[in-house]
Amino acid sequence: MNDVRRVAGVAPDAPPAIEVTDVVCQFGRIRALAGISLRVMPGMVVGIVGPNGAGKTTLIDVICGLVRPSRGTVRVLGHAVAGNTSALRASIGVLPQETALYDEVTAWQNLRFSAALYGVAHADRRIAEVLELVGLSERARDVVRGFSGGMQRRVAIARALLHNPALLILDEPTVGVDVETRHQIWAHIRSLKTEGRTVVLTTNYLDEAEALCDRVAILRAGTLVAEDTPAALTARTGRCLELECWSEHATKLSVALQQHPGVLRAETVDFGLRVYVGIETNPEDIVGAARKLCPVEGFRTRSPDLVEVFRALTAGSQP
């Protein structure tokens, strides 16, 4: 069981916002989820990352009660999802992967309909608030069809927030939007975190997970490869040491250094060689060993980013 640590302001005995235990989802011959266990504590922002087809959306659908798992249990906000979906749905706000707006009507009318779905009290006031939050107050009365992809995404986020849910699930919130809109959406998600709301987001973008999430769960082919804080995941991958050398030397160096006890992995790059070393290994020892084999013009060390972590963790885990 991957247990997400507690956050400040959350009662120590508070039940997990989400508790997924040994969930298997089998669709005919396809196993979309293969025994996933995951806990998300209240008030945290948790990212679920993985390539297309990894099972992210299926996991979200299981959590929302849209898909019944073939095996395993799911509890959300302290209640079992099975057989309790109607009450639970009122406590969950979901931004589906597809923006799913009624594009023939205005942003306000979309939100008015959603308010009716959830029985939101003082709907007009609340709609004005969420539109203000996503910066679309001026466009409230415009037909959604005329909006850019980013604006439509913001309307959808406003809709997910409308009924003030305790748990917010964002399925690829920034897919298909431009860089500026992406950063605006990030800002909204950070503000949700500040409010102490539990947020689960799926994303293909590792920088997004790194920028927003307290914890990151890495999925590949329906299995949970790793789940930890971004820093811990980075530490697990080791430090990144970049060596500048001629390319003809880099290949030979790569083979030689992979035999070195402190080296986790090495790969040739355009400027020379990138070496991942264990956190306890002194990079200068590696540089010294390399210089014995060939000329090294320069070197630098840095922490690996989440992309590198992801590549390291998912390499060879293809079923």
């Binding site: 969950i92 597809e98 009624y102 009318q109 309909f113 959603s114 009716a116 029985g119």
Partner: protein, 362 residues
Amino acid sequence: MTASPWALFRASVTLEATTLRGNRAFVILTAVAAVSFLVMVSLFGLTGSYAPVAVINNDGGPLADRLIEALDAAHHSFALKFMPLADAEAALLSGRLVGILTIPEGFSRDVAAGKTVPIDIRIDNVNIDLTHDVQRALPAAIVKFGRDQKFPGATARMVEHDVMREDPGYIPYLVVSALALDAMVIAGILGAMATAREWERRTVKLLRLSPASPGILLAGKLTVAGTVAAVALGLALLVIVFVYRVVPIAPWSTVFALLACVVIFTSLGAWLGVVLKRTLAAVPLLFGLAMPLYIDSGALEPTRFDGEAIWMAAHLSPVYYAVGVLEWAFGAGRDLHPGGRVDPRTAGEGRVSMSRDRGDAL
């Protein structure tokens, strides 16, 4: 937070109505479609009627004129045209005439003398249906001619007892049943669109994720779809009453029958929309189903005369019952319940009696 059922219903109605307002062209075309089906069945009824036939009168005598009058009155298949033979032949070959009927020189003299006179007719048999029409019409015209001229000989007299008080015209008869076709296509398409578009827009996921009752949401959407269909059918009904001059003998039954059609076919369309999840699949399927079910319902004649299997299949379709009820309400057709409306004393008593040497009737 729980949505009240009424507020939810109202929200669903408002959203669907606003969505349709955003698609005005579609709504207008739907209303036009209701009338276009009436036009379609009218054109079907007209097909083969008044086929232009050239008459070449080489006789010019009084009996030739009487024969032409008999031809004109005997069957609606003939629209007689008078023109020179060369023009008629050119028209026949170019498809602008279906036949050339030639009355030979000396026709009046020979008929008066009791001789048998051959009447030549050349037929464009591009379609056997037209050929059959002419083959039926010409003997009928000759019989009428003989009866009018009081020729002696073996005679047959038809004694007709009608089921209906008046003879309904074929086109007025068809347009009544076309309302059922209208209902299936229009209400069905609107119902299918109301549901299938939720999948196309992906908003169905939003609805499934909400705690709202799907039944109330669906009721709201279908209320709007049904209302639009009812308005379109109302327009078609007005056209039938004021343009075709076909007035229902049971107006309330007509209205209730149409409303029942709207409810049934909107629901059927909604179900198809849910199953197929695409309007592009549901709409052609509804069109594709509507025409065969309409024809199979016996809309073109009192009942189907072409086999029990086809007739029984008709009973499985709501179109059959819709056509039956509407024809009953307009007083123009068969009954769904034998003996319910048709007078058993006169029904089926049309007969032909034969008598010999009766000069006053043929």
